[in-house]
Amino acid sequence: MLDVPATDLDFSTATDIVAAVASGHSTALSIVEAALARIRERDPVLNSFTAVTEQRALLRAEAVDATRARGEALGPLAGVPFAVKNLFDVSGLPTLAGSKINRDMPPATRDAALIERLEAAGAVLVGALNMGEYAYDFTGENIHDGASRNPHDHERMSGGSSGGSGAAVGGGLVPLALGSDTNGSIRVPSSLCGIFGLKPTFGRLTRARTFPFVASLDHLGPFARTARDLALAYDAMQGFDAEDPTCASRPVEPVAPVLEQGAHGLRVAVAAGYFKCNSGETCYAIDRVSAALGANRDIEIPEAQRARSAAFIITASEGASLHLNRLRARALDFDPAVRDRLIAGAMTPASLVVKAQKFRRWYRDQVAKLFDEVDAIIAPATPCTAPLIGQQTFMFGDTELPVRANLGLYTQPISFIGLPVVAVPVPLVPLPIGVQIIAAPWREDIALRLAHALEVKGVVAAMPPAP
């Protein structure tokens, strides 16, 4: 059997790997071994992994190869190495959620539901990934495990809170990773690391056996280096799960088969007002994407600033409620920056949190009306390219804003009402930046079709880091 050299697989897509394994040009074992070698070689710098599940991965890869040897059908992700943000339960590991405190928890006894679904499709888990403490973060910094580093400039942020996911996929360690997105934690690292990220509709993918942050805003989703790979992973993870009370009872709606329909017949508009680009990089990215998609009209998302504010206070309050006992008992074991935000969140007046939830329903109904006129809306993913690690503020137009709270200012008003979004990477030099493709609820297919169309036109791409 021919084996593809490990060095050729560095930036291979999941689609390439599935084809190589299915055709016998490579084995799952050699692909997983190559991924493990890359992790050993590069992760001391990128710092994206907090655990590598080597023995488990090798056994799993051998099982995939054995399936093929028996002449049985392979799953749609056969032999694809993947890793998960360390808030996903991984059997045998404590679910850290980026914290020191959770290291004292007993190891998980069962994998998170989405890991089970990806492995049922033939993918191979290779480890758990660094993240911001308890997911209350947009930077990718972590006081306990160190910052995960941007693959395009190691002095810069990966973005958060799924920073390890962004760094591992953008740095070529794995072609696929999972993360969570409460206010932007998939889309921000995707933008800063120059990769594709999908935040599906709220309730689409099961959250069973993952560590929560804000129950009414938490989403899970994949990172990859192509839109097709996102679709493959997303399709394998869909489906109702009674173990997650928020998981919607909807049929599986596969997207990979419709990707090639591209942008044909779709009406795309550019978000105006609050979302108007405010830096050279964001304006260039929006101009490129809008021109390629024929998006020649602007659309105003009503009350987006207020929506962001409502998401901000729901996050603060629900997050604090989750951690109140830990704040009482182990305050000194938190990252101080997270602790002080959570303590303040615990003091948010309940009457205003309820008002924010009422506003949320009003806002959802107003934005839903926009999708009578358009099929998708594009907006910047982040207000800037990757800041330096440790950088406290950035310039937003003429205003200096704190980094930690504001890298997600374009993402928060969208996840607030659970809309599906694909973040696509515009490969600027020296640093990439992302654009959000936002669709109506349950229309991930539209966002992924547009992402794929942009890729085919050469407007967006996940580029390997410069040597």
């Binding site: 709220f202 207020r306 901000f312 109140l324 615990a346 003091m347």
Partner: protein, 72 residues
């Protein structure tokens, strides 16, 4: 001759309503606040309250339903 007063620590900052709110809330919630955290907690609470004011300022009908159990 006037004696010079030597202080061991800087004068306590003047407390405002947010400081009082933080102290009262911490007591009510059973949270122990180290004095060195207070400035950061105050900064974050002021930020939350600025966002909350924007939400509070929005007029909704009395029968508006909250969306705690959210369906997209």
């Amino acid at each position: 001759m006037k004696r010079k007063v030597i202080r061991n620590s800087p004068p306590a900052p003047k407390r405002d309503s947010i400081d009082s709110l933080i102290i009262a809330n911490a007591q009510a919630l059973g949270l122990t606040l180290d004095p060195s955290w207070e400035a950061s907690v105050k900064f974050n609470l002021q930020l939350i309250l600025r966002h909350a004011a924007l939400v509070d300022d929005f007029s909704l009908p009395d029968d508006a339903e909250p969306a705690e159990i959210f369906h997209a």
